[in-house]
């Protein structure tokens, strides 16, 4: 998707005459709750519909209305969808931040702004396009109360004109957005045209950025990771969902609810083939999920860091009593409340070892909506196969931002309900014990209430093979050793890493989750700007497959790139691989809450490689 000969000629900064085609970032600075969302989505979709690879990232505050918000749209003919550090085109709509927004730009960047703000006075090395928003909106929207809602559509029109985005694509996107609201639609269309016409008649294009139709998005969809998690869970056959609202995970269960109400009502009875409960807190949410998992239902919950901490005790119960359930952790920044609306990969270590005593838990590490979807399905299978809580570690960037994706494949594998005892199996085994090793993989057979098979007693306290209460040292050791065998067996069940070996590369990179997008772009930068070839291993799950050690062994220096302060995944890798390999490991850490961009990785690797950028 990224032909090198193209990649070398990335959008240079500073004013140039040669056009820069389909390769720029637009940042719209507004105030949240000011209804800029429609305008931003229309802008994004119009590019997407024009076949140009695009991504949109919303940088919003942790409150409901009145604070600065930035929406960034990146168009990249190379297909780069990670965050781009430099902003090429600023749309400054927020008086409060306008000055700083403009000061933050690279020389030669473009600033579209409300005339009244007089931003051209701030500096003189930018390309300024002042727009009389109030005048234009007044003309198209007589009702003053409604102006706030349509005002933003004007900059879409302006950009359509300036960048050469087909206006009809904008109209189509707008129509789709406001399908059900005729009045709003016509007002917004008028505003769109007003902006378009104004720019056409008044503004002289002085910037290099242009859009030309491509076909790189044909057949693709635009979706947030949380919606993908919802679709995946529904297709996985989840039946019991218990959750407690928390940013950035809420939309997983909210979207799931919408889909389930539409697609999971029983034909005959018209009743729900599922139960979705808003619990009173996260402890209760996981307790419900475990109660349902105990009785054989596919259950799940979704949360973020603070919820993970509160689920600690119950997770240990699920681990030790061996109860399946799926937990989505949409990670956000920080210990405690931290930055609820910023992204991070900061719960890796505490989740891997969540709960007191000797515990460890399987984690899936999706990078894209498509992977969130497939991993959600795999997670439900793995949870029942291993009879343990399984985590899907997403993050705010993946979960709440818009991503291009190929349409999701229909699951061809049937559901794996794991080792359930059957009358035949019972006969075969002769005598059955809930926690008895049978197949050497550490996974015992289970029965559930109502299946007519022998009952047993689940407990978080010491028990023997039969689940009977026991304080016998030998029983305890045998049990936790088997559980550990089970976990090691999981290495063979989780998705292996994706490895890209580059012949002769001495430098390796290990990454996971959304860091992938910055990494793959950075690898091009390293190759083209510094001639450094890199191999790449993308982790997709914990526990790791043996390939990880082999990959490290094959390179002199291996950079583990992740979005936290303490190198959490690096820690897990260090503990997992042959001790002799650990001296090769290095770290690239990013944890300021912004999605990880390629430039940050490239600069840091060059620094550690002794090649001052």
């Amino acid at each position: 998707m990224t032909p090198p000969e193209l990649a070398v000629q990335e959008a240079p900064t500073g004013p140039v005459t040669t056009p820069v085609v389909n390769d720029f970032s637009i940042q719209v600075a507004t105030v949240n709750g000011s209804g800029s969302q429609t305008a931003n989505l229309v802008l994004l979709r119009s590019l997407f519909q024009s076949g140009v690879p695009v991504s949109g990232k919303n940088l919003f505050p942790s409150n409901i209305a009145g604070l600065p918000t930035w929406f960034t749209i990146r168009a990249s003919r190379h297909g780069y969808v990670g965050r781009k550090k430099e902003i090429d085109i600023l749309v400054a709509m927020n008086p409060e931040t306008a000055r700083d927004d403009v000061l933050g730009l690279e020389p030669g960047a473009v600033a579209v702004y409300d005339e009244a703000l007089k931003l051209d006075a701030v500096r003189d090395d930018l390309i300024f396009y002042p727009v009389p928003f109030d005048k234009l909106v007044a003309a198209v929207c007589p009702d003053a109360k409604l102006r706030k809602l349509v005002r933003n559509m004007i900059y879409d029109g302006v950009l359509s004109q300036l960048l050469g985005i087909d206006l009809s694509q904008m109209e189509r996107a707008l129509g789709r957005q406001l399908a059900k609201k005729a009045k709003a639609l016509s007002l917004n269309q008028a505003a769109l045209h007003a902006g378009f016409d104004f720019a056409g008649t008044t503004l002289r294009k002085r910037d290099p950025f242009v859009v030309e139709p491509m076909s790189a998005t044909a057949g693709m969809i635009l979706i947030e990771g949380n919606a993908a998690a919802a679709i995946g869970s529904m297709m996985a056959g989840v039946t019991v969902v218990a959750w407690y609202p928390i940013t950035p995970s809420s939309s997983v269960c909210e979207t799931l609810t919408t889909y389930m109400r539409k697609y999971r009502m029983d034909k005959e009875s018209g009743k729900a083939t599922f139960a979705i409960v808003q619990a009173e807190d996260e402890l209760s949410a996981l307790g419900m999920a475990l109660g349902a998992g105990w009785l054989g239902a596919r259950s799940m919950t979704a949360t973020a860091g603070p919820g993970i901490s509160l689920m600690s005790e119950f997770t240990g119960l699920g681990y030790y009593a061996e109860i399946p359930t799926v937990i989505f952790d949409v990670q956000r920044v920080g210990p405690s409340t931290g930055l609820p609306t910023r992204t991070a990969q900061g719960d890796i270590l505490s989740t891997a070892f969540l709960s007191h005593g000797d515990t460890r838990h399987p984690m899936f590490l999706p990078s894209s909506p498509g992977e969130v979807y497939t991993m959600a399905i795999e997670a439900f299978d793995l949870a029942e196969r291993l009879q343990t809580p399984v985590f899907v570690m997403s993050d705010l960037d993946l979960g709440m931002n818009l991503w291009m994706s190929d349409p999701f494949p229909y699951p061809e594998k049937p559901l794996d309900r794991g080792k359930r005892l059957t009358p035949d199996k019972l006969r075969e085994l002769g005598d059955w014990g809930r926690y008895k090793e049978v197949d050497g993989d550490g996974i015992p057979y289970r029965t559930v209430a109502g299946d007519g098979l022998p009952a047993y007693f689940v407990r978080g306290s010491g028990h023997n093979e039969r689940g009977q209460y026991s304080e016998r040292p030998a029983d305890y050791v045998a049990n936790v050793d088997r559980i550990d065998r089970k976990f090691r067996h999981a290495r063979t069940l989780v998705p292996p890493p994706v490895i890209e070996r580059v012949a002769g590369a001495r430098v390796g990179i290990i990454g996971y989750g959304t860091s992938h997008w910055g990494i793959s772009e950075s690898r091009d930068q390293l190759r083209h700007e510094a001639g450094i070839a890199t191999s790449y291993l993308r982790l997709r799950a914990f526990p790791f497959s043996p390939d990880v050690g082999a990959f490290i062994a094959a390179h002199d220096r291996v950079y583990i790139v992740e979005q936290n302060r303490d190198g959490q995944m690096g820690t897990l890798v260090k503990l997992d691989v042959d001790a002799a390999l650990t001296p090769r490991l290095r770290h690239v850490l990013h944890y300021d809450g912004l999605p990880l961009d390629a430039r940050t990785i490239t600069d840091e690797i060059l620094r550690q490689e002794g090649r001052q950028p």
Binding site: M235, S269, A275, V277, A285, G287, W294, L317, V458
Partner: protein, 350 residues
């Protein structure tokens, strides 16, 4: 009033309506102290399920942590059981019933498990009216951790070491009423007959049946000065009514002078006959129920019996409108939408 048919605790040979002996409902040997009130409650549970002729396979037992919470291991040995974590059994029971609404859940908790660490989950369980029997074996202390005061200890009640309880006690029945519970009862581990009738009524009820059963801790809280000691409770118990339970499967004629007895018919078709003792108490009258709790408490008495019942309040699963078949056993076809659905969703996202 004369009734008949409520069988007396069954002698060995006898079998119930599904042909099982009492023994079939017993559990493992208790590891609780000899004389612990909790053991008496376990025995009544065994009798109640035996007399109601419930299949063990249909029952799930749950609990939190504590001496009381150990007891599910000591009854219904052929039913699935779950001894969960301290104070969080309500959520586990809720999830379980969501997974399989066809089961009959009985949860056993303690006053610490419910009143201290677990009060939050208790509150929300009551609101949801999750179909289950929720028993609090209330001894006013933490037995398993050696006798500290619990939140149901009455003001002025003393521990062996002389420590006096100086905070208002939580009255779990009052709380349950406030939160909209559909079945609220209080009993005493020493009152076999009343407990048995209430347990059978709880089995017959659909919704959360909350039973706060005073159950003295003979090891740590049975001394002079404790208001949860066996003798204190015995002396201060005030039965609201004389209860006779007639199960749906026995059609029995009960004749009594009108006005003296109130008949309450329960979800499964069984009937409760309540012979009024305290004035003309009506357990379907919520304000009256609330009043009796406070007035008896003010007198330092325990009003026992069926305090409140609302047989027809929709349970949580009804509110969620789930299919009749247990969610846990739905076929793959019912839980994995067909290809067309995924295609439709994908199209919307293009």
């Amino acid at each position: 009033m004369t009734t008949s048919g409520t069988p007396a605790p069954a002698p060995a040979r006898k079998v119930n309506r599904i042909g099982l002996e009492l023994a079939a409902y017993r559990g493992g040997k208790s590891t609780l102290c000899a004389g612990c009130g909790h053991n008496a409650i376990s025995e009544r549970i065994v009798e109640a399920f035996y007399e109601m002729g419930v299949e063990s396979q249909r029952v799930i037992k749950l609990s939190g942590i504590g001496c009381s919470s150990k007891s599910p291991a000591y009854f219904l040995g052929q039913s699935h059981g779950f001894n969960s974590v301290h104070g969080r059994m309500p959520s586990v029971a809720t999830g379980a019933m969501l997974a399989n609404k066809g089961l009959l859940a009985i949860g056993v908790s303690g006053d610490g498990d419910t009143g201290a660490i677990g009060i939050g989950q208790f509150v929300h369980l009551m609101r949801r009216n999750v179909p289950m029997i929720y028993i609090v074996e209330n001894n006013g202390c933490y037995g398993l951790t050696k006798g500290q005061l619990s939140p149901t200890a009455d003001i002025g009640s003393t521990l062996k070491n002389g420590v006096v309880s100086d905070l208002p006690a939580i009255d779990l029945c009052a709380l349950a009423l406030d939160l909209g519970a559909s079945f609220v009862a209080r009993s005493f581990s020493g009152d076999k007959k009343q407990m048995l009738s209430l347990l059978k009524a709880a089995i017959a009820h659909r919704g959360t049946a909350m039973l706060d059963i005073i159950s003295p801790c003979v090891t740590f809280n049975d001394h002079e000065g404790s208001t949860k000691s066996y003798s204190y409770v015995k002396d201060h118990e005030e039965p609201l009514e004389e209860i006779s339970f007639v199960p749906f499967f026995e059609d029995i004629s009960v004749d009594y002078e009108p006005g003296t007895v109130q008949a309450v018919s329960l979800h499964d078709g069984s009937t409760l006959f309540l012979k009024k003792l305290a004035g003309d108490y009506d357990p379907t009258n919520e304000p009256m129920a609330r009043r009796v709790i406070y007035e008896s408490a003010a007198r330092g008495e325990f009003a026992t019996g069926l305090i409140y019942v609302e047989p027809n309040r929709p349970d949580f699963l009804a509110l969620l409108n789930v299919v009749d078949e247990p969610l846990a056993s739905l076929s793959p076809e019912k839980i994995r939408p067909p290809r067309e659905v995924l295609d439709a969703i994908m199209d919307e996202l293009r």
